[in-house]
């Protein structure tokens, strides 16, 4: 999957799961009130299912901001 398409789909997923209207690459879990622990689990689960990837524990720990999630999904998808 192309990087732009991954980003587009990831942003759609983030908005859908977190139920927010806007998201940008620099945002972190702490800055978005809707991104609480329950939503975080739903988000990681949705990412695994949508992109058909498996997220390792070591990687999942750093997935607390949009940029690192995008990097990981891009790396796993390719």
């Amino acid at each position: 999957m192309e990087e732009n398409l991954i980003k587009e789909n990831l942003f759609l997923l983030l908005k859908e799961v977190l139920e927010i209207e806007e998201i940008n690459i620099n945002q972190t879990m702490d800055e978005i009130p809707e991104w609480d622990s329950l939503k975080h689990i739903q988000l990681l689960s949705a990412i695994e299912n949508f992109f058909n990837i498996e997220i390792d524990f070591e990687k999942s720990i750093s997935m607390v901001d949009v940029k690192s999630i995008l990097e990981l999904v891009t790396q796993k998808t390719n």
Binding site: S37, L38, H40, L44, S45, I61
Partner: protein
């Protein structure tokens, strides 16, 4: 200080320890080099019993140097972390009262807990600095706060190296308050449940005895430590037998559940039913040889989820029942797995009794539905500062749970439903009034009612029925945006139904006394 009537039991139990500090120190003396805590995250914190006590005494020394003395209250706004544990035990060693706070709560909700508990100081993690700054700006009185660095940084810098001398620790009676845990309240404001050292030690004793925990027991704590289940079932219960606990930092532990079980050779865990559903939805399979079982409570566990889970992962689930008011569990299905009674929440723990009563507080016959009541060493002292609520909830020497169920003729208990309209979303309790109070602040909302709706993963989610005034100018998004920031995000409605837009409902359904009929709304929603 004596046990209250609702805490009395007729048989003798030797709990061995007067307070939680004594329990910890005894285990250090017996196995100082044994691993007690493993806290994996970006860095892995690992402490033996003696290392953990040393760091705890450093924090106790800091707390004491800050002027805090026995009976003072400290709020801990922390996600699961080693830092939380050190402040939790450090405070308890000094006889401080710990008030753990869910960091996901809104600033207004945190402010309420701080003021209601009359806390003396607030400790929080670095990433919560903005939120705590907001809280400080709206507090009615000035209060000292301190940001706590991650453990791997503060152990050498932030709190120095001076340990509080064990010989100078204050004497702490088993009836002294240890922890105040806030739980959702029917009126909208949370209630502070006062738990003593005795409550915590007795519940931990019972759970460790029930499952035959030993010094080889290693639990995985995936539930938040600011709630009772995480604290008691997966931390204090293994500690009671000199076992160990794996506690994952932050919020990603469920994703890593099976990896952690395998990597750290975990033997037990405790979860909500919604977590079992989440694990079923993930593509991860079990790969360990160590796991013995999962304790499950806090939400209704469906046969379907239990059967699917046990078939796929080959792990027995032991359903139990309890509330914050019973410290954690008050009954659990039989161990080992072949002794379990299908569909039952089990039998009372050794430290408490249970009964089912009718509306006149008379004990029900077998199979007759009534309110579940509990009394025993693990039943909370009281609700903080709620005289009337204490009188009704703890009447006649029994805690009245507000949950309905029955007992069979062999003494096994079964859970049916709640008396009130509590919504349990992913294990978090939400009372309709919490959101309704916020909705009513919107000037165009004439009336509203909040119900729980089914959610495949989380068990339940939140739906708000709203009637707008004649101006009728706002829509669902306006209402949602109005609520944001005034209440925790997880309490926001998943769905908002404006009844002005419905053909078959002009106003919220009400009974003869004009009380809103929540059950009718639930039925209505099911048929939409």
């Amino acid at each position: 200080m004596k046990n209250q009537l609702h805490q009395k039991i007729d048989h003798k139990i030797d709990l061995k320890y007067e307070n939680i500090g004594e329990l910890l120190i005894d285990k250090v003396n017996k196995a100082s080099n044994k691993t007690f805590i493993i806290c994996p995250g970006k860095t892995i914190d690992k402490c033996t019993y003696s290392e953990f006590l040393r760091n705890t005494l450093i924090i106790a020394n800091h707390l004491s140097d800050s002027g805090l003395v026995k009976g003072n209250k400290i709020c801990l706004v922390f996600n699961n972390s080693t830092e939380f544990l050190l402040f939790y035990f450090g405070g308890l060693l000094l006889g401080l009262v710990i008030v753990p706070i869910n960091p996901d709560l809104s600033s207004l909700e945190i402010k309420y807990i701080i003021e209601n508990s009359n806390a003396d100081k607030i400790y929080f993690q670095e990433h919560l600095a903005n939120k705590i700054s907001n809280v400080k700006s709206i507090l009615k009185r000035k209060l000292s706060t301190l940001v706590v660095s991650p453990f791997d940084q503060f152990k050498s810098n932030q709190f120095g190296s001076k340990e509080f001398p064990i010989g100078e620790l204050p004497k702490i009676h088993h009836n002294s308050t240890a922890v105040i845990i806030y739980t959702s309240g029917t009126t909208g404001n949370p209630k502070g449940v006062v738990l003593s050292h005795l409550n915590i030690i007795s519940d931990a004793y019972s759970i460790s005895k029930w499952f035959k925990f030993s010094s080889n027991t290693r639990t995985l704590c995936v539930l938040p430590l600011y709630h009772n289940n995480g604290q008691i079932t997966t931390l204090i219960a293994p500690l009671y037998k000199g076992g160990s606990t794996v506690i994952v930092k932050g919020s990603v532990s469920i994703m890593a559940f099976w990896d952690l079980v395998a990597k750290y050779e975990v033997t037990w865990s405790s979860v909500m039913a919604s977590i079992l559903s989440i694990l079923l939805s993930l593509k991860k399979e079990r790969k360990d040889n160590s796991f013995k079982g999962i304790l499950c409570g806090g939400q209704i566990l469906s046969d379907n989820v239990q059967n699917q889970f046990e078939k796929r992962f080959k792990v027995p689930i032991y359903e139990g029942y309890g509330l914050t008011e019973t410290t954690s569990f008050s009954c659990i299905n039989n161990y080992p797995k072949n002794d379990r009674v299908k569909g039952s929440i089990g039998q009372p723990l050794p430290t408490n009794y249970m009964k089912i009563v009718d509306e006149n507080d008379n004990e029900c016959d077998s199979f007759q539905e009534g309110e579940i009541c509990i009394k025993g060493l693990n039943v909370a002292v009281e609700y903080l500062g709620m005289i009337e609520k204490n009188r009704t909830a703890f009447r006649n020497g029994w805690f009245h749970s507000g949950d309905f169920g029955y007992k069979d003729d062999k003494g096994y208990y079964y859970f049916n439903c709640r008396k009130d309209n509590l919504i349990i979303k992913g294990g978090e309790n939400i009372y309709p009034a919490e959101l309704e109070n916020v909705l009513f602040q919107q000037k165009n909302i004439e009336e509203c009612a909040v119900i729980g709706i089914k959610d495949a993963l989380l068990g339940q989610n939140v739906c708000a029925f709203v009637k707008l005034d004649e101006n009728n100018k706002i829509d669902e998004n306006d209402i949602l945006n109005f609520c944001k920031g005034k209440i925790s995000s997880y309490k926001l409605p998943k769905e908002i139904i404006i009844i002005n837009n419905l053909d078959d409902m002009n106003e919220l359904p009400k009974g003869p006394t004009k009380k809103i009929l929540y059950r009718t709304l639930e039925e209505y929603y099911k048929n939409i």
